[in-house]
Every structure is written in structure tokens, then in C-alpha cells.
């Protein structure tokens, strides 16, 4: 246990150092521009799997949390000219409150009802933002990036580094949940909520906690998108494509371990970037949908399920 902790944090430090060195050495901005999106999806997928993977509550409202993150940032920039760090921190706070709200509202719902309720929430919030003039309404709003902070020489590279930092935070949070009583409690309530409650697992508290943490991380991951695009409008900030992408990435990677969503997000994120450049963004969504259905039908445990089966087969061969 202790050794794996050291390995994890060494890995995280090496990852961040490597990202930092890359931003210093590569002059071209495009790789960072594309890489940002992939890192963003890693954050969203890992955060989604806290609720969707461990607890078995399928949140279709990823776009609600993402959009709330974006618009919290927009509001802070417009009203106070707040710096990026504040935008992300406040977005996380708002996201966790929203998550708590979702948890309380959907207390008695399970399965498809929970999923539909989260879509409903996304549309209601989107409609409210659309009718809110101060943040641009339906037409959207243009944002001006402030000058970049010294160690970085361009804003996109800085955002890339910030998103990498968020990846580490999201993965570390999810990993510590997975290895703790919280994670085991969530898994118990996924398998049988009634039985878990009867054996003394505080199911409601755990569910609310999972909603709040997952929501905070998704909103935090969405907040820098305002500055990344220098523009925000309701229909793209609350696009349902975020929900389906994140669902697909998590399930394709496999949700029983935090590595799953990371693998899924990287794999699909890279594929998407390549397809968007070479073919079109529609084909992109098509590939995503087909892969989602294929994996759900043929490989229920995702990529990590496949890998584990491989390794257990090999172990059998050897013995």
C-alpha cells in the first residue's frame, strides 16, 4: 500500500515535470491546443466515474456541470476580472454545490430515472443561461485573455499545464476514494443499495459525497475552457456531446479502476483529435457512438477488463 503511494506520486511528479519541460521546449502551439482537449476529457471521465463507475449512477448531466464551470468562469471574468486560479476554485465550489443539489433532488431515484433527471437539470440550467443577458444570452460572449503569467510564454501552454495539474488532482482524488471506505461503500451501494443500507453503510451520505466531489471536479475541468476558447455560448458549453463522450470514454476504459477512464479518455481523445483534423466532427461522434455500443455489448468491463483477462490467461498458461 505504502509503496504504491510512493510510486503514484512519483509518477504524478514526473508527469507534471514532463508537461512543464514540453511547454518550455516546443514552440508550436498546436500540440498544446489539441492536447488540452484530451487532458480535459481525462479530468471529466475520471470525475464522472466516481459516481457512474463506483456508485453505478449514470450521470447524463456531465454537460450541466461542465457548462456551469464555463459560465462560473465567464461570470467571474466579466464581473471582477478574476484570475484563472480563482475561476477554477470557484467553479469547483459551485460544481460541488450543484452536485449536492442533484444528490438531494434525486435522493429517491435510481437507474434510468436518475439519468433522465440529470439530463433535465442540464437543459433547465442551459435555458436559464440562455435567458441571462449579463453572460451573453443565446448569442454567446467574447472574452479577452489577460497577459500570460511569467514561466510560460503563451496562454495556451499555461492552460495545458493547468489542465495537467487538474488531471493529477482528479486522479489522486479518485484513487484515494477507490482505496478508502468511501469507495468500498459506493461499490456496495452499486451492487445492492438496500443490502448496503441494512449492513450499516451510510448510503445517502456517500451518494451525496460522491455527487459533490464528482460535480466539483467536472466543473473545475470545464472552467478553463472559457479562456481556452476565448468565447462561450450556452449551446456549446452545455452540449450533450460532452455527456456522451465522457460516458463512452469511462465505459470503454472500464470503470472498476481509475486507470480505466484515463485510458479510455486518452484513447478516444486522441482518435477524436485525429478524426476531427482528417475527416469531420460528425464522423467523430459516429465513431464514438459505435465504439460505445460495441464495448457495452462485447466488452462489459472495458479495456481494463480485457487486459485483466489477458493477464489472468497468461498466468494460467505459466502455472
Amino acid at each position: 500500500m505504502h509503496r504504491s503511494n510512493i510510486a503514484f506520486w512519483t509518477g504524478a511528479a514526473v508527469f507534471l515535470a514532463a508537461v512543464f519541460v514540453l511547454t518550455r521546449t516546443i514552440g508550436n502551439e498546436y500540440p498544446f491546443f489539441a492536447g488540452y482537449v484530451i487532458l480535459q476529457f481525462v479530468v471529466l471521465s475520471v470525475a464522472w466515474s466516481i459516481l457512474g463507475g463506483y456508485a453505478g449512477y449514470v450521470n447524463f448531466g456531465t454537460n450541466a456541470f461542465f457548462g456551469v464551470g464555463v459560465y462560473t468562469a465567464v461570470l467571474l471574468v466579466e464581473a471582477f476580472g478574476a484570475p484563472l486560479g480563482v475561476q477554477i476554485a470557484v467553479a469547483a465550489l459551485v460544481g460541488s454545490l450543484l452536485g449536492l443539489g442533484v444528490g438531494l433532488l434525486t435522493m429517491r431515484m435510481r437507474g434510468i430515472f436518475f439519468s433522465i433527471a440529470t439530463i433535465a437539470l442540464a437543459i433547465i440550467i442551459e435555458t436559464s443561461v440562455t435567458n441571462w443577458r449579463f453572460v451573453g444570452g443565446a448569442a454567446g460572449i467574447q472574452l479577452q485573455r489577460p497577459p500570460v503569467t511569467p514561466p510560460f510564454d503563451s496562454y495556451v501552454k499555461m492552460l495545458f499545464f493547468v489542465q495537467a495539474l487538474l488531471v493529477v488532482i482528479a486522479v489522486a482524488t479518485t484513487r484515494s476514494i477507490q482505496n478508502s471506505r468511501i469507495g468500498r461503500g459506493l461499490q456496495a451501494l452499486r451492487d445492492d443499495e438496500l443490502a448496503a443500507e441494512c449492513t450499516g453503510v451510510p448510503t445517502l451520505r456517500l451518494k451525496l459525497l460522491a455527487c459533490a466531489i464528482s460535480g466539483a471536479l467536472i466543473s473545475a475541468g470545464g472552467a478553463p475552457a472559457a479562456m481556452y476558447l476565448q468565447y462561450a455560448d450556452p449551446s456549446s458549453a452545455f452540449n450533450l456531446n460532452y455527456s456522451v463522450s465522457v460516458l463512452a470514454m469511462s465505459l470503454i476504459g472500464g470503470t472498476s479502476h481509475w486507470v480505466g477512464p484515463v485510458l479510455g479518455a486518452i484513447l478516444l481523445g486522441v482518435t477524436q483529435q485525429l478524426l476531427a483534423v482528417t475527416i469531420s466532427s460528425e464522423v467523430n461522434v459516429l465513431v464514438l457512438g459505435i465504439m460505445l455500443v460495441l464495448f457495452v455489448v462485447a466488452a462489459p468491463k472495458g479495456i481494463i477488463g480485457l487486459l485483466r483477462r489477458q493477464s489472468s490467461l497468461r498466468a494460467k498458461d505459466r502455472s
Binding site: F60, T106, I112, S115, I124, N131, L240, L286, I290, V296
Partner: protein, 291 residues
């Protein structure tokens, strides 16, 4: 500026709209309400049917309602195949059907949506027929005839489906399988086959509803996203599986949307169904006429 005339007009149009919503939701009422299949792709099939009707109307100038009937058998087959796939992969294995079953239909919905975009583009499409574009004037209200046609056909569709489920042998078998699958098995019937047939009927109904959808207004590929809210709102508010409840709930939704549209403007309309849905789920999850 409040006026009774305006409110009355809104209510009348709302009732017309509500019956149309009943028609688009009644298939889901069977698939989700009776059979417990998380058919999130229902609205996507609906829009697909609209494009099928558009194709027949555009190429061969077939009346949209007739076109809807013509593609209904194809949708029946689509329903059979979809349910068989769902059953073989999830219901039969039984494990973890919840998360993956929902993801499965969500994925199908997106595939259908993108295929429509690739084939027809993102522009709005509409059909032409003699009754589209004209309106009746009653007192000082203007009622488009297309709304009246959709209303009449929707009412006919919903009532005949309710009759089918309560009067015919097969209809009763469908309701029986929803109540007690094991009991049906003990009677020597095959519950899976009945469920598959029922899912086929539910999907065939979607074909006709899709014709109504494109008669009432032009369609675009991503229209299904709004209808996720409308159809699930109606079905959940109705109490799962109740056809009469579906009609009542749909009229409530139609009137609510129509009033909000008149009083506050179109930009708030999409949120109405979802807000109603959330309210019903939070307060009375068993619906108006719950089982």
C-alpha cells in the same frame, strides 16, 4: 399585458399540442412503461421516422401520413431487432444491465442522430401536403390546419392503441408480461417473444408519430434532444405504462408549454417539460395514475 383571449388561445393550442405529445410518447409508454426497457433512443427513432417520411414525400410526393404508415412495418422490424439485441446482451445475462443498458440506448441514439446528419445535413427539412400552411379562423383565434390534422391522427392513434392493449388477445398478453413474466412462462407462453412483439409495436407507432412530428413543424437532426424531455416527462407523469394517463399527462404538458410560450416567449419553452419531469420525479415518482 394579460388578456383572457390570449390565455384561451394558448389553452386551445395547448390541448392540440398535448394530444400530439401523447402520440409521440405512447410508444415509449409501452417500451419503458410496460416493458421496463430504458429506451433513451426513442426520440432519435422518432426523428429518424420524420426523415423517412420526408424522403418519401420529397421523392415520390406521397402524403406524409400515408408515408408514415408505409414505413411503419420497417420500424416494426427495427423494434424487433433492437429488442432482440438488448435482450441477448443484457436481459438474458442479467448482470449490471442498468448502467450498460442505458449507455447502449444512449449510444444508439447518437449513432442515429449522426447518420441523419451525414445523410441529410443539419438544415431543417419539411414536408408538403394540401393541408399544410392553411389556417382556420374561429372568433379571433387562428388555428393552423396542420395542428388539427396532427391532433386528430394523434388522438386516433392513442385511443386505438389503448383499445388494442385492453381488448385484443395480444394486447392483453403484453400487459400480462408487464405484470408477471414468470406467471406467463408457467402458462406455457414465451414472455420474451411477447416482449419483442410489443417492442416492435411500440417502434411501429413511432413511425406514424414521426409523420406527425414533421407535419407539425420542420425537423432537424438534433431535435431528439428536446424530445427526450417531452416524452419521458409524459411517460413518467402518466404513471408508467398507462395509456389514458399518457394522454392526460401529455395534455397537461402541452397546455403548460403553450401558456409559457405565449406569456414568456419561446426561449423558455424547452425547459418546461424538463422542469415538470424533475418536479414529478422528486415529488410523485409513481405518476398521476401510478401502478
Amino acid at each position: 399585458m394579460f388578456s383572457w383571449d390570449l390565455l384561451l388561445g394558448a389553452v386551445v393550442l395547448g390541448v392540440l399540442l398535448g394530444c400530439f405529445y401523447a402520440a409521440v410518447s405512447v410508444g415509449l409508454s409501452i417500451a419503458f412503461g410496460l416493458l421496463d426497457v430504458p429506451q433513451v433512443a426513442h426520440p432519435a427513432f422518432l426523428v429518424l421516422a420524420s426523415y423517412g417520411v420526408y424522403l418519401l414525400n420529397d421523392r415520390f410526393e406521397i402524403d406524409p401520413l400515408l408515408a408514415g404508415l408505409l414505413i411503419a412495418p420497417l420500424f416494426f422490424l427495427l423494434g424487433l431487432v433492437t429488442y432482440r439485441l438488448y435482450y441477448e446482451t443484457f436481459e438474458r445475462r442479467g448482470s449490471d444491465a442498468g448502467v450498460r443498458g442505458i449507455a447502449f440506448f444512449f449510444g444508439i441514439a447518437f449513432i442515429v442522430e449522426v447518420l441523419i446528419i451525414l445523410q441529410f445535413g443539419v438544415d431543417q427539412r419539411s414536408v408538403s401536403a394540401s393541408y399544410i400552411g392553411k389556417a382556420w379562423r374561429i372568433w379571433n383565434m387562428r388555428i393552423p390546419i396542420r395542428q388539427l390534422v396532427a391532433f386528430a391522427v394523434a388522438l386516433l392513434l392513442t385511443v386505438s392503441l389503448a383499445a388494442y392493449l385492453s381488448k385484443t388477445f395480444m394486447g392483453r398478453a403484453i400487459r400480462a408480461v408487464a405484470q408477471d413474466e414468470e406467471g406467463l412462462r408457467l402458462m406455457g407462453a414465451n414472455p420474451v417473444w411477447i416482449k419483442q412483439f410489443a417492442f416492435g409495436i411500440a417502434t411501429a407507432v413511432v413511425a406514424v408519430a414521426g409523420a406527425l412530428l414533421i407535419i407539425i413543424a420542420p425537423v432537424e437532426p438534433t431535435l431528439d434532444r428536446v424530445y427526450i424531455g417531452r416524452t419521458f416527462c409524459v411517460v413518467v407523469m402518466a404513471g408508467l405504462g398507462s395509456i389514458t394517463g399518457t394522454l392526460m399527462a401529455a395534455i397537461i404538458l402541452g397546455v403548460a408549454e403553450s401558456i409559457v410560450l405565449t406569456m414568456f416567449g419561446a426561449s423558455w419553452a424547452p425547459a418546461i417539460s424538463f422542469a415538470l419531469l424533475l418536479g414529478v420525479l422528486a415529488v410523485r415518482p409513481q405518476g398521476l395514475l401510478g401502478r
